[in-house]
């Protein structure tokens, strides 16, 4: 008898568990194409989780529209959208960089971004096609350990890092979309041969880490003199404890060097979305005054690109970075992945 009571309560517990799981995530379990209720949008989010969460919360507070995030990396979610095609449960796609946006755009999956959204973003921060828009920006930097690398030894150009003199002296996170965006800028600026050569040199020299934060941590600890990352990891850590960045300084390549590349984060609305209006509203909010103020005053330290809101005053102004001119719509991720695979980095 006792055994049977145990069995029954076990079954009850299991049933409750199944119901909890499906209850907690009802947006996914009621099918693929129409996720959640009418007053909810699903955002495939490759931007930093905490930043998008801030945007989502502020947007929900203003409009009452709930935002459900599915987090992943740029290329992962971009390719996932392509695989899902017109059956995707996503309404909006946000990335850290632009190559994944191009990937989805080339697959013909984006709806046109509304003109009132585009009007909020100056043309250099969005593709000419109008299929998506820039929502934030980030600058490439060479982060170096102040004790291990005197200023006169800093690389003049990103291209210098293929030189054997840099063997085992710089780090990167090649598996991440951040780094792949930099390579795609290099590809656009210098062509396939030069990029392939640079990647081969990189393979010989670089020490790889998982994530830009891990690169900075290693540089800070003196494990390696320097590394190629984006600027805001340093600012973010300085704003907290500085534990991973107090020994680190940032070197901006400037001079329109490929290493001075400014990567645009993108946002677009999926053509397959049944909630076009809410999705466009979300993009309008993110690129609008309030959304950009989240960038200006928040903890992400990414650059603002819209509605005339200036960047966080702690950052080197975007205009002073002397970034090379690249049309974000031309940055190609499949070819970059291929070249990096050939070089043995992926």
């Amino acid at each position: 008898m006792r055994m049977r009571i145990g069995l029954m309560s076990g079954l009850a517990l299991a049933t409750a568990a199944v119901m909890t799981v499906s209850g907690c995530s009802n947006s996914g379990s009621d099918g693929g194409t129409d996720s959640g209720g009418a007053n909810q949008i699903t955002v495939y989010n490759a931007q930093h989780e905490s930043l998008t969460q801030e945007w989502a919360d502020a947007f929900t507070a203003e409009t009452g529209i709930e935002v459900e995030l599915r987090n992943g990396s740029d290329t992962e979610l971009g390719n996932q959208l392509v695989a899902e095609g017109d059956q995707s449960p996503a309404d909006v796609f946000l990335t850290e960089n632009s190559p994944a946006m191009t990937l989805v755009e080339n697959a013909g999956l984006f709806a046109d971004v509304n003109q009132d959204v585009l009007d909020q973003v100056p043309s250099q921060y969005r593709p000419s096609s109008g299929k998506w828009t820039g929502i934030a920006a980030r600058s490439t930097v060479f982060a170096y350990n102040k004790d291990k690398l005197p200023q006169d030894q800093l690389p003049k150009s990103l291209l210098d890092l293929q030189d054997p003199a840099w063997k085992d002296r710089w780090a990167a996170s090649p598996s991440g979309a951040d780094f792949q965006a930099i390579v795609s800028a290099l590809l656009e600026l210098k062509g396939e041969d030069a990029t392939g050569e640079w990647l081969a040199g990189m393979k010989d020299n670089v020490r790889t880490y998982k994530g830009n934060g891990a690169v900075m941590k290693a540089v800070n600890a003196g494990e390696i003199p320097g590394g190629v990352i984006y600027h805001y990891y340093w600012f973010g850590d300085q704003a907290k404890t500085g534990e991973n960045s107090n020994n680190v300084a940032l070197h901006y390549f400037k001079n329109e060097d490929p290493g001075a590349f400014v990567s645009v984060s993108g946002g677009g609305v999926l053509k397959s979305s049944t909630k076009q209006d809410a999705a466009q509203q979300f993009l309008k909010f993110v690129t609008g005054q309030k959304g950009q103020e989240v960038l200006q005053t928040g903890t992400s330290f990414e650059y603002t690109v819209g509605s005339g809101v200036p960047a966080n005053p702690k950052l080197v102004p975007l205009a002073e970075l002397q970034a090379p001119q690249v049309d974000p719509a031309k940055l190609n991720s499949p070819q970059v992945t291929e070249l990096m695979t050939e070089a043995g980095l992926l």
Binding site: G6, A17, S27, G211, A221, P334, T337, G344, L346
Partner: protein, 504 residues
């Protein structure tokens, strides 16, 4: 054999071939030229070297450490043997990636093969220790005594009499360790050690389900099959059961003496300090540094509830699915039942990422309403962890003699009712152990959950991962802490159950 059970078993086993089918189909799709270009490149050689070296170095170390530890607690009068016995199983409660995160905190430069071997050994040696200890406990000491009487020295007795009898436990444990090594992702990412699985994950992030990822998975499948075949060869067909009537005595524990006692205590102490002490202290230290702000209660509670939900639902479903196979393999031994059992190993020997990729592809293309639903996640868990449930269920059913069921029927109870009232209660403890093992696997699972779960899902391991990869080690600590606390009772269930089912 009841037809419904046989049909159910065949369906379950057929489903477990889906991932393998996916890898084969994708490889055929790719065509030979592309495939060979992807396979015979330097990067693959690098990964193959890393992965093979990891297995070749780690597995023997785990066997030596696990068997030594088992022998010390079961066969010597080491001080505190009972406490050590339980503590040595405890590393199973620490997810390997939490172990790695803790060690990297302590030694930031930890990396490469030696780092991988260290973390893997500390995380996985209990997989050898538990079966070895259970087997040692039931070995008949009479064989050793006869050897000694014939003039064989104590060391020779150990290597020539005891070790051969541990062959099943060692082969099984070593197989489990190697399969874990092939499938492990998180632990090796922290210490920058690239294996096939970490590389597949990176490929996946770059191309979703591109040819390169599938090719790498194909190599991994071959490695897994090699291991499975090796194990069945090593295991051999010799019989290990005690012949004759009566029960074996318990062996008389050896005195260590004043010379060896300190060395043994030092060995056990260092082993526990490194495998349990370092992670626990490290997690507690991060909790102190993070203070109360890292306990975002809503997020932590939601992750806990979801993890419990997935864990319990997954464990129940997996045990239910394993049941027909276990029943057939105990009550109807033969070629058919051996095929069924072998089939279930195929998926579980693949890393979570390959199973997840297969299910993503299948559900996007053919079962779209199920895409990104709980159903698919639970299915993935069942495929990954079926053997864990099966092994225990089988042992449990074997302990319930068919005669008892027949006796109940002769007293006028219907067959179905006899089963529920007689056999199932007898098999219940072993089923609980199987369920515990599956639960443990689900709590630590990351990749399949990440790729398959409904949008909005945040399990403990997902939260831990997302924070720790942003170098927010303090923010990750609460999740690591809860995962360890949640796993401890399950580990204890396994440990105590292992003593009962040894040798079955």
């Amino acid at each position: 054999m009841p037809l419904p059970l046989a049909v159910a078993a065949v369906i379950v086993v057929a489903a477990s071939f889906i991932p393998l089918g996916y890898v084969i189909a994708a490889s055929v799709d790719t065509g030979w030229d592309t495939a060979s270009a992807l396979l015979f490149r330097p990067r693959v050689r690098e990964l193959l070297t890393n992965t093979v070296m990891l297995v070749v170095v780690t597995v023997p170390i785990c066997v030596v450490v696990g068997v030594t530890a088992a022998w010390l607690v079961e066969r010597t009068r080491v001080f505190g043997a009972k406490v050590w016995a339980v503590l040595l199983a405890a590393p199973l409660a620490v997810p390997a990636f939490v172990n790695s995160y803790s060690w990297v905190t302590a030694i930031p430069s930890l990396g490469g093969l030696h780092g991988g071997v260290l973390i893997a050994t500390l995380s996985y040696f209990p997989l050898v220790y538990i079966p070895a200890a259970a087997t040692l406990r039931r070995l008949d000491p009479a064989v050793e005594e006869s050897a000694r009487a014939l003039g064989v020295g104590p060391w020779a007795v150990f290597f020539r009499v005891v070790v051969p009898q541990l062959r099943l436990a060692i082969a099984g444990g070593a197989l489990l360790v190697s399969l874990h090594l092939l499938a492990e992702y998180g632990a090796f990412v922290f210490i920058r050690f690239d294996t096939f699985t970490t590389a597949i994950f990176e490929q996946y992030q770059s191309t979703f389900n591109g040819a390169a990822a599938t090719m790498l998975a194909g190599v991994l499948v071959l490695l897994c099959l090699t291991l499975l075949v090796t194990e069945s060869v090593v295991r051999g067909s010799a019989r290990y059961a005690r012949i004759g009537s009566g029960a074996a005595r318990r062996a008389v524990p050896a005195e260590l003496g004043r010379r060896y006692s300190p060395i043994v205590l030092l060995f056990l102490g260092v082993l526990i300090a490194a495998s349990v002490g370092v992670p626990v202290i490290s997690v507690l230290r991060w909790l102190v540094i993070g203070g109360s702000t890292v306990w975002e209660l809503d997020t932590v509670a939601a992750a806990l509830v979801q993890t419990l939900g997935f864990g319990i639902a997954g464990a129940v479903v997996t045990c239910v699915l394993a049941f027909p196979i276990a029943w057939i393999s105990i009550r109807h031994r033969g070629r058919f039942s051996r095929f069924l059992e072998g089939g279930t190993y195929v998926s579980s020997s693949l890393p979570g990422i390959v199973v997840a990729l297969a299910l993503v592809t299948v559900s996007i293309r053919y079962l779209h309403p199920l895409y990104q639903t709980v159903t698919v996640v639970i299915a993935a868990y069942a495929l990954l962890f079926l053997p864990r449930a099966l092994i225990n269920l089988r042992a449990g059913l074997a302990q319930a003699p068919v005669g008892l069921e027949e006796a109940a029927q002769s007293l006028g109870v219907s067959p179905l009712s006899a089963f529920f009232r007689v056999t199932l209660p007898l098999a219940a403890p072993a089923t609980a152990a199987g369920g515990a093992l599956v639960f443990l696997g689900i709590v630590n699972e990351l990749t399949a959950t990440l790729l398959l779960a409904p949008t909005g899902t945040r399990t403990l391991s997902m939260q831990f991962w997302s924070r720790s990869s942003e170098i927010d080690y303090a923010g990750a600590a609460p999740y690591a802490f809860i995962m360890i606390v949640l796993s401890l009772p399950m580990t204890y269930v396994l440990f105590s159950q292992s003593k009962k089912v040894a040798g079955l």
